[in-house]
């Protein structure tokens, strides 16, 4: 047993911390603090992403022959952790989910043009899976692609297509066969957002995350835009899901906030003169958060270790998703309690920690139902971990 990062991993962590800290220039930080650009898409963001590409930090999990780094899952986890600590909206789904699948299953055109564009930091994807009637039951999706003129004609509607407002392409899941079981008749296409049949309308959300309804009206794509074989898209959707889930619950961002909070607590006097760090319930909140963070880190580490040793357990993946997403909600709550009313202030002279908590608490629920809702994850644990009968 050896439950710690090895020397190489520690030094990667250090290297990444230095690299990303220096990358966060004041103009980038300013742009990211603008409500319009905090999710990326602004000129500074684009410029930085290109630089990251140039510096070779995109394509971590990709094979070396395609210009990737072939990072191990642990190294990828460290990368996600360090980027997330800075608050840079790194397009992980494009670089670590879509990219590796294109180099593995994409057409020659896609490999040459799209994969290279991703590696260079030029291309960003939106993920078009969910539909108004197909959320958790994703396999029931109805957006259709019909073969026509040596290509495909796409019609339908997606919902919650995040980043579609500035992405260059949508990674689109479509129904291509009604004659087979619903999982079997799905195909993935690369759809350019500058097609005249593509439209989007923004959906505003509680956490100010802008996502979109996207509409596809007679969008024609040539065959080269199909990824993998026709009707075999479901595997492409699910194969990356465990890694994606792991990125969603990375302990880095909450740990970063926790470290900032600890400094603040030790430095802040309450109005009655006592130090914030001397208040009993504050101490208990701090310890609770610490305990959750330690556990989450270990759950995630075990998962990446399993992945590295080709021993990925579905139970562990589901556990990480549930534990992380539910812990985040509690951690934000407990941090906000410590700050009191001030925690609900938006950017203001009085607000503490740049009102980060105020925004985070508003986005926290998305992870409990997104990325595979937690009820289904619990079903998986009961079934695969406890060998109990299937619930449906």
């Amino acid at each position: 047993m050896k439950i710690e990062l090895n020397k190489k991993q520690e030094s990667l962590k250090q290297e990444l911390r230095e690299y990303f800290t220096s990358m966060m220039t004041s103009s980038l930080t300013k742009e990211l603090s603008d409500d319009k650009y905090f999710e990326g898409g602004g000129p500074e963001f684009r410029k930085t992403l290109k630089q990251i590409g140039k510096d070779g930090w995109i394509g971590l999990s990709w094979p070396k022959e395609f210009g990737g780094k072939e990072f191990t899952p642990t190294e990828q986890y460290i990368f996600v952790e360090e980027v997330m600590r800075t608050g840079f909206p790194f397009p992980f789904l494009t670089t670590e989910s879509v990219g590796p699948m294109i180099v593995k299953f994409g057409s020659e055109w896609a490999k040459e043009n799209i994969a290279t564009g991703i590696l260079n930091g030029d291309i960003i994807f939106a993920i078009g899976y969910s539909e108004p009637n197909s959320g958790t039951d994703l396999a029931s999706l109805q957006t259709r692609a019909i073969e026509k003129n040596n290509g495909y004609l796409i019609n339908g509607q997606k919902i919650w297509t995040s980043l579609a407002n500035y992405a260059d392409y949508v990674w689109l899941a479509t129904r291509t066969n009604d004659e087979v079981k619903k999982h079997k008749g799905i195909s993935i296409f690369i759809v350019p957002t500058d097609d005249k049949g593509f439209k989007y309308t923004p959906i505003k959300t509680l956490g100010d995350v802008t996502t979109n309804s996207t509409f596809y009206e007679d969008v024609y794509v040539p065959k080269q835009n199909l990824v993998g074989n026709i009707d075999e898209g479901w595997n492409l959707i699910t194969s990356q899901l465990n890694l994606e889930r792991l990125a969603l619950v990375n302990h880095g961002p909450v740990d970063q906030m926790f470290q900032e909070l600890l400094l603040l607590i030790n430095d802040t006097k309450l109005s009655d003169g006592t130090n914030l760090s001397e208040v009993d319930w504050v101490k208990r909140n701090v310890a609770n958060i610490y305990s959750g963070l330690e556990s989450l880190k270990l759950i995630c580490w075990k998962l990446v270790w399993g992945m590295e040793n080709e021993n990925l357990s579905m139970t562990d993946a589901s556990m990480a998703k549930i534990y992380g997403s539910e812990f985040f909600i509690e951690a934000y709550r407990q941090m906000m309690e410590i700050l009191g009313e001030i925690a609900i202030l938006k950017k203001d002279d009085l607000s503490i920690m740049n009102s980060k908590l105020e925004r985070m608490y508003r986005t926290a629920s998305i992870l409990t139902f997104g990325g595979g809702t937690n009820e289904v994850q619990r079903d998986i644990i009961a079934m695969a971990g406890l060998f109990m009968p299937r619930s449906r």
Binding site: S134, T205, L206, L270, V279, G340, T368, R378
Partner: protein
Amino acid sequence: MDFSNSEESTIIRDNIKKLLGNYSSNDYLLKYDEYKLDLELFKELKQGGYLFDLESKNPFNLEFFLIVCEELGYSNATFDPTQCISDVAMTLSESNTEIAKSALKKLFSEDDYIFSSALVEPLNYDIESPSLIGKITGERYCLTGKKIFSYAADQASCMLISFICDDGIKLALIDPRLCNVRHTSNTTSKPYFEISFSNFDISQDQIINGDKNGLDILKDISAKKILIQASYAKGITNRMIELTSEYTSAREQFGRPIGSFQAVAHRAANAFISNQVLDLNLKHVTYKYLNNNECENELLNLKYILGNTLHEISYTAQHLHGGMGVAKEYPLWRYCLEAKEFELMNGNSKSALAKLSQNLTSNQ
């Protein structure tokens, strides 16, 4: 024992529900999403007799006001009368000072006359122990310090503040237009202001303590605040639960309503139980408070429960709705913002629990 509601309270609830129906459509609320201050609604509440009743012997009736607050919470109302009525007007109605009487007269007679209070301080979980210092110089007090979360302080003609001096805790009425008032943008977009005092001068006749001890006045304000917060909380959680049960009954995935999945139904049922617990505790403490029974511990317990319930039900509702729960085109999101505000205002569940445990163990 009788847990039923009086006929009179049912009538009040029905009437206020009807009135608020005109002020709670999505289109109406949209107009106030950037800045949630609706003085029209304030006037309507005033004129309708929902904030005070000049025909009765005591114009303020806390029991009825709590019903009004619950319905304001339920309808996501665009005006919050808590500071004006409960913190200030009800407090003034118990003061025998001239300034209190004349301020109240104005509230009763002028349609847009509004009070605000400045009792909350940064990083002070307890309004009963203000740290704003008033230096006594002869017959006057000189204030330096800061208050936060004063509601509609830019509209108010009169503001109640608390401070501490060598003579103990004082409460005074001031004209907010004479001090430094700054808007602070916040999660619910309510008009909250920071009030800064720098050598701010107050005369003896602005003090409203009369023959009362300042701490006792603040304790009473604080008790009413908890009851009002719990009433708002109940309105908010009632609506969140209602939306959740309706939505999960209608939304289908895997060919069946999501509410028919046992895990969904059970989580909704847990929310229902927590909401009932909040309701029962609120009723009990209201009863005790209105009958002048000692209820400090019950109030702390209520404060503890209301924070937990708001937190739990807000996230349950969001989760069970999936994406729709956080979309601004659907009504739930505003309730979630309100829930967080009421959870954290004037102390929180943990600080209340700590105080409660101290009381319980020291009594023994």
